[in-house]
Symmetry: C2
Subunit: 327 residues, 2 copies
Amino acid sequence: MNRISIKDVAKEAGVSISTVSRVINNSAYVKEELRIRVEKAIKKLNYNPSTIAQSLRRGKTKTIGFVIPDITNPFFPNIVKGVEDYLKKEGYTLLLSNSDQDLDMETKIINTFISKHIDGIIFTGTGLYNPALEKLIEKGIKIVFLDRILEGVNASYVICDNQIGIYELLSYLYNRGNRSYYFVNGGKNTFSAKIRYEAFVKFMKEKNIKNYNHLYKEFSYEAGYSFGKKIKKLPDVIIGGNDLIAYGIIDSLQERGIKIPENVSVTGFDDILFSKHYKPSLTTVRQPIYEMGYKAAELILKIIDGKQKQIKGIVLKPQLIIRNSTK
Amino acid sequence: MNRISIKDVAKEAGVSISTVSRVINNSAYVKEELRIRVEKAIKKLNYNPSTIAQSLRRGKTKTIGFVIPDITNPFFPNIVKGVEDYLKKEGYTLLLSNSDQDLDMETKIINTFISKHIDGIIFTGTGLYNPALEKLIEKGIKIVFLDRILEGVNASYVICDNQIGIYELLSYLYNRGNRSYYFVNGGKNTFSAKIRYEAFVKFMKEKNIKNYNHLYKEFSYEAGYSFGKKIKKLPDVIIGGNDLIAYGIIDSLQERGIKIPENVSVTGFDDILFSKHYKPSLTTVRQPIYEMGYKAAELILKIIDGKQKQIKGIVLKPQLIIRNSTK
DNA sequence: CTGTTAGCGCGTTCAC
DNA sequence: GTGAACGCGCTAACAG
């Protein structure tokens, strides 16, 4: 249980602690001979510098907090991976925490992060405005919003262009002759659902389509499933707010003997891991999930390093993926 | 950018920093009046105690490191959730890191963890022996192995009883009249693959089955897919080393026009999220994934608190899940 | 080029 | 019951 400190190394090497510090950080020239002695001592004692002491001293922790709603939602692992990969590359540590879609938990996490002196935070919140965010800004902790923007909070963000995604999806379907649409969307107070809804309505107006419906439910398999169980009159296309919803719709319709895409087309949004293996494979809009995480990490570090002064929004392009759930 | 420290609070409240400290930690009685003044000051200044200063002082960080191979593998999100949920409940923080199945990365992570003074580590490694683990033990950092045991390392662990899982699966299949088996397994140097292989062979011997094959590949969809593309003579059952392998096998066989389970039964292991929605839905062995994480977190904290002195192995029971990919 | 020293924010004696 | 002072491990400024 004996933590080895810089003192022990100094003693072992017969130098002062500052010399050890210099060797560790390569912060000043140290005579070859001493450096070697220090390095040997470090090896011998199995010394690891204490990050927490360094952080206390430097006033920076090289740690980025990342708040996500739920890691078990298949959308997030890849985004986390993107964040982590970039941060690791830059010598930063990721502090990840699930908010479980709960505002209080979100607040708690933010406070923990503040206590832990994180240098910056990447925020994929529950979708509702959280006053704790002000505190963050007040303390000078940098923020990047990821996958959603929060009204009233003026901060940098990385999102995917949902409007274009919906537009391309609908254009494709429209050009193939589909004329009636049902949009089964995610939760009403989420950024993604709202923005997709807007893009949907805009397209309907643009093409002067009257035969359409829209419903806010939830971004889950079950939401899609329960919808598919009940729907009476089938439109040409059912748009799932995300892939999970589409899966649920497909399964419930198939159980009712309805054929996809022969009787009705079904689409998703996200292109998560299994969408290409679904039966039928899912026509959907691919978000560059990993890249979104990667870019967000890149952006937050830029802001922290002062290389990015103004607020910046990065908007990534989605990609229409045509598979076998549509005709 | 002005961090508020205990000093500021003390000044604001007109007391000494020790009094503030006592209020924060409830470590000694403080006169009602002062306590209230301190609490007011904390509120007013929006003060959060510095965890890193506390850690430095106390010599404990209330942080647990968790090494996993890859968060984008659908097996892991739930296990992470289990770990995180328990740790949060106990006021601990989780430090998660992906090793990307790379031994060097693993070592790097361990060193980072040591530098960060984690109090304990939950370890789901690449499967190969890592000398850096000795260092951990040497430093008195507690370890719990999760989902795998490492030969030669004497430490506590939480695993699922793979043998029973395989046994029950095979018994079921055998009792239904299946007599020839092909086991498409994960990577040769992983704990899970080895132990499942052993259980498989044991059963074959026990029932005196001669008509069986075994192959070490990889725990991935692609591994299963490439196998299914090539296999000539179909056995009664193809056992996938995990669900992903089974998915790949199913898809490739179906593409060849082979019907499942009519022409051949296919099984998996794990019961990840999509297995119940697969087509056909997958017969598999469910591991209590979330619970494994939860128990591991519970165990590591027990060890840290000194409530668990001896090395302890927790073995969770799997559950046979019969669905439509077998006959 | 190297050593001495102050202090980052906090908890914990030890006096009072 | 409360405050002053020390030190956790480290870096940065300063002195030599």
